[in-house]
Symmetry: D2
């Protein structure tokens, strides 16, 4: 019947009327009804009446808004359903991820799962991917105003001298986060303090933001000079924007995955040659990205990152910087060396969307649901898995390009190669 609800009790209809007349606002509906699921129903009824659109599919959800309201969502009306496919098995030899994994990918783009799947096959047939987290720290960079460069410099030194005090401030706020180090940055009279924290199994933006706020307050209260926090985030963090600083200093997990693909696998599974894959990587991923003025030197990290992020309850907006990185290839004898480097992969296995039912199941599928033992190990394992899946996706796309396009151009740069004519 195209409507999102069967029976509509009088009480709910009254509320719809009130929403329509403006005498009740959406943000007060939960309080009015005392039940977030009913509130979602009323909103749907209102929207259906207003727009003529049916919301019956959106209504068909297992989500319990009593639990999610105010933690994960406001003004809920239901859920969107994103199909999930699996790629694998993908063999990973990491410091934390060890074994064969099936990678859950939530996507609506046909061929993406198949792409990662074929890459995983080639990697696994070649003995698997290695993966390693090089750095681990979540950052926030509040921005402080001072009257002059002298004050700016004095403030920066003052803060660096008091790092132990600031660690104590942070310890009073969170059990899981620890202030690692501070990178001060000065432009004229302004100071950014790029604060880096370990955050255990959480991605950690919330604890990091709260900790940063406390640090700012501590500074304003204790610094004997003139300094005011004018933005808790001053964009040198850098959250949800592409930025060189994240590439250079790292954010979240700085992780590398690599594999040596056997020559016969390149030939039989990927239908091309190490030379051609290498040529595509250098011309497209390095030179092409250089020409485009891009921060990101890869083919499609973002496809795999986005699909896993949605599947596992990560913050989808962080695909922006989590997908920055480099693909690097070398022809090694008959084989192909390939690596992917992701300097700012921001992931967690607790908090945010990770506690939602479908997302949590898909984390469990990877063996990383909830907090790890020791703490932090689940998030590190997830980072290794994601990097390995990105490796699979990247290997496959480069191969497809090399096979499809280069097939017609065989012998292009070969022994009797072409000359300027």
């Amino acid at each position: 019947m195209g409507s999102s609800s069967g029976q509509k009790p009088r009480r709910l209809e009254d509320l719809v009327d009130k929403l329509a007349s403006g005498s009740l606002s959406h943000s007060r509906l939960e309080k009015e009804l005392g039940n977030a699921n009913e509130a979602a129903l009323v909103r749907r009824l209102y929207l259906e009446r207003l727009t003529g659109a049916s919301l019956s599919s959106v209504a068909s959800t297992i989500l319990d808004f009593q639990e999610l309201y105010g933690r994960n969502i406001e003004n809920p009306i239901g859920a969107v359903q994103v199909p999930v496919g699996i790629a694998g098995p993908l063999r990973i030899n990491g410091d934390y991820a060890r074994g064969d994994f099936y990678i859950p990918l939530a996507t609506t783009e046909g061929a993406l799962v198949a792409s990662v799947n074929r890459g995983a096959k080639a990697i696994t047939l070649s003995g698997g991917a290695r993966a390693k987290v090089i750095k681990d720290g979540m950052t926030r960079a509040p921005l402080l105003w001072t009257p002059s460069v002298y004050e700016a410099h004095r403030l920066a030194m003052w803060v660096e001298d008091r790092i132990e005090d600031l660690r104590s401030v942070v310890a009073g706020v969170t059990r899981h986060g620890r202030l690692q180090h501070i990178y001060p940055y000065i432009i004229g009279n302004l100071v950014w303090l790029r604060l880096s924290f370990s955050t255990g199994d959480a991605m950690g933006m919330n604890m990091v933001t709260i900790s940063s706020d406390r640090i700012c307050r501590y500074i304003e209260e204790n610094y004997d000079g003139d300094a005011k926090c004018i933005a808790l985030s001053g964009n040198m963090c850098t959250d949800k924007k592409p930025a060189a600083i994240n590439k250079i200093l790292g954010r979240g997990k700085y992780v590398v995955a690599e594999a040596i693909i056997k020559g016969e696998v390149v030939k039989n599974v990927l239908k091309t040659t190490p030379q051609n894959i290498n040529l595509v990587n250098v011309t497209k991923n390095l030179l092409g990205s250089a020409a485009a003025g891009s921060h990101s030197f890869n083919a499609h990290f973002a496809n795999i990152i986005a699909a896993i992020f949605i599947a596992t309850g990560q913050d989808a907006a962080q695909v922006v910087e989590s997908s920055m990185g480099y693909t690097w290839t070398e022809v090694r004898g008959e084989d192909l060396y390939i690596s992917v480097t992701l300097p700012s992969l921001e992931v967690g296995t607790v908090g945010g969307g990770t506690r939602l039912p479908t997302q949590r199941e898909l984390l469990a599928l990877l063996g990383v649901a909830g907090g790890g033992d020791p703490p932090g190990s689940n998030a590190l394992k997830l980072a290794e898995i994601i990097a390995s899946a990105v490796l699979a996706g990247e290997l496959n796309l480069l191969s497809a390009i090399a096979a499809g396009q280069l097939a017609r151009a065989h012998e292009l740069l070969g022994r009797g190669g072409l000359k300027i004519s």
Copy 2:
């Protein structure tokens, strides 16, 4: 009971055994069973047995994989459910979007919907947002090899001279796409052809990729010199990577939304002043992003873009470049002028994930489900709506920062302002 299926008929168990033994691959399961929904069930059973994880929530989906298989997903196992909240009403005075809209946001990050909601309130109370699409064209940039710069230059000129022929080639492939123009780029002996297409109501990557392939073939077959396509995408497109070229030349919709927020609304709803919002925008969004080496000069475009993209079936990996852009503010007398500029917003209302049930309902909620009349108008309308929602989110976050942080620093730069002491 923690398992994704109640009864497990013998036949399905047999298939699970075959998957486990390796005698059957996941990618052949649909063909084997003749039913994609059953294949998803078998996969779940297999994965549950293998990992011990339950997939019952993932199994609880309205999705019909018979319909989606091969178009939107491979190796399906079910769906992930992402909560959807609404922000609004948001009044928009666009060329296509006109009226009051409720914005569906699929997110697991608490406070995001509330943030956009408050921004929408401030905008609507001030008379609404204006929105305008400045440019519209989807791009793909194949990469061709020639032996020398002479050949590279000759090829570029040859291609530009034959644009009408190439338009005919494209016309033979797609009804909806039209080749607009070609921007050739030369590095040494290599040539990128950045091809730009109008794509109607589709985001258009598929038709653009197919058309580009035909163009490459046409060139290889007809060009009288030496030219080989070595990558159908040479990264100057630029798809799913942040890139200056997209900012400078545009990709998808180049769209602006703006509003003048009345002084009293800034005060009563946003709890701050135009001056303070402006100060945060200049120091954080402009100078902070500059210092970070970022391509993106805003606070959190990506949050809103990601949430709407997931809700409405857009390609979530394109959040990367779709969220690039500028926030600009001016103090105008008592009021605040604010605009957001998104040079490469890639959206569509047909194709991809837009046909899935929940996603299509949420497009319908915005009045943009399916093809528009005239063709292309729905995608343009959606672009205006998204830009306006981004405006709301940006206005609110800047205000929150200004109020929270600057409250303590009132009179900071005021009349009797501070001096270098």
Copy 3:
């Protein structure tokens, strides 16, 4: 005796006293004396007295400030002398530069001339460099304010519609410059108009700036909407700053030089192999620059550009963007293909410092002093020569790195190449 002048007539001493007492300012000295060379002398006397420093070497100049004052310099005190060495012969097969050239390099950095010289030898022994100018246009981007995106867009369209009128405006200002095209760029309510001009044999910033001013005035006077020019240069030009827009759209001359270096020359002259040079180019120039967040993918274009710019009277501050660009190498059978691409090389043979005596002689050495026949051909020839010299310098440095460092690592990625151990 360490003083810059032998006899100091009373009149000059009086002026020194006046400068010292503040009753005369430096900027009025020329008018007071009626002779710029005497003014330079008085300034030197004053500065020598004030600081105790001798300026006798600075005084030893052939420059006639009567001629230069107000055109090339203000408040002159003499000249700095920069040693000039020559590299060559360098064989060039360009569209304009044809033959063997000796490249004048003004530098104080030991080994630079030798570096270009060895590169030139390798190129010349291999048959010479090819060079080609792909694009030619100098730009200026005034910034206009309008009240809204609607006005911004209307203004942009209005301007594009009136390009013929604007060409007439420009024709009234300059004989040598012609308005080629306009690229409007909109952020919110602001409009940049990136105006591109052909400028004949001049680098052209002056004529372009004056023309842009007239265009802005024309717009302000004739546009029926609300638009104000708030900056004659809005930094999208982009002059004297590194910028992706110059790489992508070009500025000044977009020029490529290339050569195929014979295998035996690589071995005997450059003491390395094509493979090793290629490896250094890919890892250092492409991947290293990518990691550094650089716009420039080369080893040391700037060294050669700066030395030729100073020698030939170019604007030394434009080394910044003129030195942006790409080095690209390919192993072709036994030989090495190498190219350099400089998208924004800003040069001229008339105007600015090109008329000074030493600079003009060094332009004459290259056969490009003054205006070309046809007009513009001298500047194009100079661009080809500079690109070819850059090619020589780049080839040599890459070879030196490859030989010095890679010598110890021979067989690094060779046949029996290394594996992950």
Copy 4:
């Protein structure tokens, strides 16, 4: 008479003949003659005969090539003379530079000296500029190859553990340089080691490069794993290319200069208002550079840097990164706060071109010729002076734009400001 020499003894003519016939190469001429000044003469004679160009002005030099040959130049033919003007007095209150300075600017671009001069006047009338060096360290980043990310990571840790050993290695090479710290950067199996050194009064590239070479050798000899240096400079240094890493981490001197310009000075000297200067800075320098995809957020740092670099014997190619930086303005009551931040200003007062006669005199004019007491203090003083001169140039250009353009647009954003119409 148009020839560079009066009498041409037979012996010299013979050598010219030999050069012409190819039986003698230019690079052996000094050895053949035993006198570098005569060699320069022979080269000129040869070139004059070959090209018909006169080199008499180039010949008119005080430079003694006997002294410069092999240290500053090869294949010398004479000198180029660049006019020098002075701007000032500029009052500076730095940590090292204290007092009133006359800034020597070597340039051929009319109006540049006048521009800095007017800016200096406004600053000095307002009490002078403050200047401060925030960081000081010259960098080189060799690139090492290892077989895998495991080896790459192990190497990076090994190197960091042995920093004291590496400091000893450096101490054996140079008295003036000290290894400060090491920043390792990993992409896949590759490792860049960004080595930072203090370099006293020298700019330091030579000692830093030699030290880096020794460090690479030490690693290759002592590291127990598999690591090869494939490029002594891996472009993450970053030398003579614009790069975000230099902005973010600093290179050479990270220096700030600032001033508060009194309202009356803005009005009477600069002919505009603090508000208009601020508007130009925000729209042009911040938003315009953002739109251009630039690393540099200023108006014309490069003009001043290039002119002082040439005047004082700095490495002119380093204008590229030395001129990167930010201009920041604030309206403070009636006054204007303005600062310039230069994160990678590379300067020295010993070595390179600083020992040449004219260059050394101009260093002496600033009181910074040769080594400082204590060592390093002259280079720091020079950095403060340059930053202050850049401040003057920037202040003046912004004012000129604000006055010229904004004069016509007064009241633009004023009280009764414009609305979207």
